[in-house]
Amino acid sequence: MTYVLTGEDKPLTGFGALRAAVSSLDPRMRIVMTVIYAVTVVTLDDLRVLSGALILSMWLLAISGLPFQKTLKRMAMMDGFIIFTLILLPFTMPGTPMFSVFGFDATWEGLWRATEIALTANAVILAVMTLVGSMEPVTMGHALFALKTPERLVHLMMFTIRYIDVLREEYLRLRTSMKLRGFRPGTNWHTYRSYGYLVGMMLVRAIERSERILAAMKCRGFCGRIVLLEEFRLTRTDVMFAGAMVLALAALIWAEVAYAAA
């Protein structure tokens, strides 16, 4: 399900994930541990400690059963977005000059700061993708509900997850019909107006679709309650995994404090 969310050709969860260590763990525990992990890593500053965190995330990826290359490629895509800000940092942060380009001094402090951001961002997003992103989207919704997320927000999320695929197909159909009528995008008024009409048409169709959905739901007596199809249970493996994560995080914090004191 939800083909757009979980991969371009095949859902990431399909790759022998059943045998992998992470997918057998309790989704609730995975979400909670991911949040704890992210909050901890964000507070770390030392580059050596952050490298340790990135290695920990890599280990999570290794046991998650997600395709290695594909996940790393996605992580690299995020890096592509932030690379400009990171490249600017050495030039905008005051400190000891390293070298200069066109009269602008690059500083070591700026370079360290940029590296710190890159390490933190990658460590956290990798953990998020492996621990939470490896779930079925619907399981994530149920787990969030079990963790006391407001029911309406979970409903909204489940609807979004359910219809992203459907609407993407609708979008592709509209694009095909535009192509058949000889539309070729360029930098001109005609293109922007056509894209605007495309988006407008998508909204109109979305609203009409939602009216049919609501009618179908009412017909089946929907009253706004989420029925959990699976019951989540915390097993010994879950407790052990959570314990190992907490220990690893404690070690990272200890290292940070030790390096800061040194």
């Binding site: 995020m78 600017l88 933190t120 909204l156 992203i164 407008g200």
Partner: protein, 205 residues
């Protein structure tokens, strides 16, 4: 437009998260159960729309359309766009987890603002008048988003100020394109399905 983990200072992250919780609570309060299917399907369509790349010169930009979301959904745009950001972080690796609150404020905040200011104007008058207000609303939301991103970077450290300025200048063409597209989308929707808009009769504030 997404800020990643590790760039912002802790007070900014905490402030963003607290404001985002408030925004989501407010949005959910304005979202009756009857409207959830509509909000969910629209949230999904904005998610899909953000995957569209629009050519600009030799390059292309991807759409955000948060202004349009605010015009159509009103306050409900907040939780709807938050859900989009959450899914992007978890399944695509765009953005981050601890910055989710700040990103939600930066993107969904201006959407709600655009909805509150321009929502009624868009539903009024001829479709052409509605489209002009819609275009203004769309451009306004993305401009505020850009400023908010620049502001959250600048709050976290002076070293980001040049990057923040660059972000704003680089997004001027995006602001224009989003305004044109939002206007055109509103024009079409006003002619085809006028009841779509937040300010319209039978709509949802």
């Amino acid at each position: 437009m997404h800020i990643v983990d590790g760039a912002l200072s802790n007070p900014v992250l905490l402030g963003g998260a607290a404001l985002a919780v408030g925004g989501i609570a407010m949005g959910l309060k304005k979202l009756p159960l009857e409207r959830i299917p509509a909000a969910g399907v629209l949230s999904a369509s904005f998610f899909v729309a953000s995957l569209i790349h629009v050519p600009i010169g030799p390059s292309s930009v991807h759409l955000i359309l948060n202004g349009l979301a605010g015009l159509v959904l009103g306050w409900a745009a907040f939780p709807a766009l938050f859900v989009g950001l959450l899914l992007q972080a978890v399944f695509f690796g765009f953005g981050g987890l601890t910055v989710l609150g700040v990103n939600a404020i930066n993107i969904a905040g201006p959407a709600v603002l655009a909805g509150l200011i321009f929502g009624r104007l868009v539903a009024r008058g001829t479709p052409m008048q509605g489209a002009i207000w819609g275009g203004l609303g769309g451009g306004f939301a993305i401009a505020v988003t850009t400023l908010a991103v620049a502001f959250s970077l600048a709050l976290s450290g002076d070293e980001f100020i040049p990057a923040a300025k660059l972000v704003f200048v680089a997004h001027i063409p995006v602001i224009i394109i989003e305004a044109l597209l939002s206007g055109a989308a509103i024009f079409l929707a006003r002619r085809v399905k006028p009841e779509l808009f937040a300010g319209a009769k039978g709509g949802w504030a």
